[in-house]
Symmetry: C2
Subunit: 601 residues, 2 copies
Amino acid sequence: MPIYTAPTRDTRFVVNELLELGSYGNLPGFEMVSEDVTEAVINEGGKFCAEVLAPLNRIGDEHGCVRNEDGSVTTPPGFKEAFDQFREAGWGTIAAPEEFGGQGMPHVLGFVMEEYIASANQAFGMYPGLTNGAISALIAKGSQEQKEKYLPKMISNEWTGTMNLTEPHCGTDLGMIRTKAVPNGDGSYALTGTKIFISAGEHDMADNIIHLVLAKTPGAPDSTKGISLFVVPKFIVNDDGTPGERNGVSCGSIEEKMGIHGNSTCVLNYDGATGWMVGEENKGLAAMFIMMNAARLGVGIQGLSQAEAAYQNAVAYALDRRQGRALSGPAEPEAQADPIFVHPDVRRMLMDAKAFTEGMRALCLWGALLVDLTHKAQTEEEREQADLLIGLMTPVIKGYGTDKGYEVATNMQQVFGGHGYIEEWGMSQFVRDARIAQIYEGTNGVQAMDLCGRKLAQKGGAAVQAFFKVVGEEIAAAKKVEATKDMAEQLEKALGQQQAATMWFMNNAMQNPNHLGAGAHHYMHIMGIVTLGLMWLKMAKIAAAKVDGAGDDKAFYEQKLATARYYMDRYLPDAGALRRKLEAGADSMMALGEEAFQTAA
Amino acid sequence: MPIYTAPTRDTRFVVNELLELGSYGNLPGFEMVSEDVTEAVINEGGKFCAEVLAPLNRIGDEHGCVRNEDGSVTTPPGFKEAFDQFREAGWGTIAAPEEFGGQGMPHVLGFVMEEYIASANQAFGMYPGLTNGAISALIAKGSQEQKEKYLPKMISNEWTGTMNLTEPHCGTDLGMIRTKAVPNGDGSYALTGTKIFISAGEHDMADNIIHLVLAKTPGAPDSTKGISLFVVPKFIVNDDGTPGERNGVSCGSIEEKMGIHGNSTCVLNYDGATGWMVGEENKGLAAMFIMMNAARLGVGIQGLSQAEAAYQNAVAYALDRRQGRALSGPAEPEAQADPIFVHPDVRRMLMDAKAFTEGMRALCLWGALLVDLTHKAQTEEEREQADLLIGLMTPVIKGYGTDKGYEVATNMQQVFGGHGYIEEWGMSQFVRDARIAQIYEGTNGVQAMDLCGRKLAQKGGAAVQAFFKVVGEEIAAAKKVEATKDMAEQLEKALGQQQAATMWFMNNAMQNPNHLGAGAHHYMHIMGIVTLGLMWLKMAKIAAAKVDGAGDDKAFYEQKLATARYYMDRYLPDAGALRRKLEAGADSMMALGEEAFQTAA
């Protein structure tokens, strides 16, 4: 069975040494986070995920979710019991507001836990994960009455939540949705329509499920400007807060998917279901984006999580499996063969994975800190700065992070050779589960367009300029230190590629917007490479400063420095190639009409 | 259900215009290949695969193979009947020698058919595919008696064949195998041991299965120098050629795999099974490599095949599915949304796929021609030249071809958005099936080492020098033509990257062989990129010469030119980045010991 250990040592490094969480004690919610509390979340959270959730991961994959004849859904064996434990331990409440029963801690710690959960069992993690998305929307847009009715039970995970956007004929283009919401005359609406791909849409793990549903009111504009958001509980909530009458929403079927079998991905049929509008009429898209942005960061973490889980197993296999001899001569002459760990090509894949997971962990947790600062920083300027940066980073974390997460998971499967292809070893599941993260909550193509078509241009390019400033300052500082000088220069070149690509967009995309579309995916990857480079340079700087006096931790800082060097050597060169592709523009990409793509006999 | 049409127009272009198969009429086997015969194979073969095999592809995935209580294996519904049709039509015999009942046609046409078969149904294609590998070994190393006994029935596909190499503890490092072959005293041997991952190892589609098995005779050296090859029929063949007594080999179980469910991947238990040695004692590895080289080219074709099948479906979906509007303004204002085909990022993925599949088809069929010339060219020099080139190309076709095939299949799944993740659409299967090709018949890491550790150095670098000459001449010629001048210059730069990388290996790998291992995978990809670039330059040159007078075919040549341009713009830049990674060497890759990879709590 696959193994999993929460990488708590590395988490502590990022939280305490890189982000210096303790230094934000003056901000609300941060004051309660003593080093002891941080330690407790990291250690106990990690333990829970490794001991309770990870052992259910293969079981979830094998059993999947079953829709019963009465339309109820049975989750895989053990999921319900594990969710009970999860709920009792309060693992879902870390970063939720205290006002509604949450622990009000920084998102940084919430994200730590999200990584561990998703590494241990991505399909399981989606039940509380989607709930968090729904919670965000209700916090931002719900009425006080709605908040009081739903949030405490959702935050406590007594109830779970869902996001209902997609319909059979539309996903990305939500202006086309057909689900109707007709006023009942009593303030409620009757919702009718079909939603698909609804994760955690129906299950047996909670007493109620709170669906947040996009629908159109009668006469609403036939575009994204005509979408409203509704809350539709599976059981209509009684005045005393208990679940009452069964609402007119039901699971029509469960999708057979490539992976995340442990999550019930439902077709949900709304048949005059009673719902209540959340926020203003026809302003549902904005509310949806609140759920979506939270969800996108969570999906980015999934990219990290599957890479991490797959990596740990590949390391164990590479150290155990013996085939052939080291190129430089037998490493263990007394054995019949050396562990495959000695082979450079195996090491290449492991180092690629290590450089990605540790860099991505730093990026995700930095992203979490930005989310916190967006709400909690002391000055308006700091809050705005954080908001700009996290807005820019969200598509990079989601898009680049999941593309690389899938690639790394695939490479870790490759380390296993033929055994990687056999389900029993669990490596196939990591790849299959990782695959969805490139697709849902906006495909990575949509992320690239969000980055290039929206975020780059926002406020006259203020966000990307702020980013360049952060990277530039880090480079300047690292250049002054002997141990990081070379690395800083390498990153400077890659940053130059991003700046040139940005300039190319500025000079060319106005005259032909297809140039932007043609280069968006390349740009997102350039930016991902530069951003992880920033993380590695920061980490290298810390490691360089600490390594000599580190005592028992010396090896830890040495490996940070070596991995940083590997990152600069092996990841950064792609930035130049991507820039060249981007600068090739849209012409050869868009030259051919549809007949040229059709297979000719 | 997924669609498939054999891309016969493009095949004809490669066979007739690029390779000019008709010009080899003076060579044995080629003389019978009139344009009519070529047409018949392409058209009828394509039709058979599209109409008979493709509809069984999803069925094979869903049903898989079942091991029954008596150890027999039932293949998916329809497979047996389809194999009967396949056998009756003689589709397995195209390139097999006439002496044993084959049609003796060039491998070029055999490879055409292999692509169509694998695109339509990769799991099905492995039954005759493995048979071909076993046939190759018997032709090269079998005694006349063995050839007469087994080959006619195998070539006719009345019987199928297998390759038995891997054991639970060893795959790549075959020196470690434990299967024993003890002489029975009558010229036969008793084989005892366990083989795993045996494709087509047991099934219900043929009257007999001829296993080719690596095993060790008593006292044989405990290394690859102690391996012998044996033929072990499932039913011992009677003197009259009919299958007789059941032999002591049985299917212990069927592996649960990520994909290719329609093929029965067996654990085979040999329990004193009777076998006969093929070729010389302790020379089994050489015989195995004959099977292996044939198989590796076949696996490269699988990379093409899954990319092609996935591409056709993605094109159809992109033209049908409507979401959003073209960046340059609505393409179909009267409709509620434009087809996603208008979006540059979708087009990027489709063009990437088109550039790969058409380039890879040209490469595979050129490879097939080289295989033919190895045996059949008129002069010893030409035969040697072909042998050098195909030896060099084999790991590139297998390694680069399957890495890209998987990437393209994944991107084609991405075109479908969420629907791509649902099994019903079939895109998941293309990805899952494509995945195995990077692993079996030597992982792509093994391919990279075969290329860099063996083929580059062979005969003082004669093979790679011959390759550089071929590419250089093509570039020089294309530079003289206005329509291809720019492209030739782009390719020249990429070739320069490969030459520099080669030089770097020469200057550094002797002092530290890990430098070679650390760069091998990068080198294989650089060479893949340059090789497909060579194919595209050749194709562009032909298209440029013909486009003006082409009449109805004008659009065909125009799209060849546009796709060539896209290839040069979007594929070649990676060669430079890969060279930089390669030149970073082994130091940062091998810096860390095993403790640095273990997850620290």
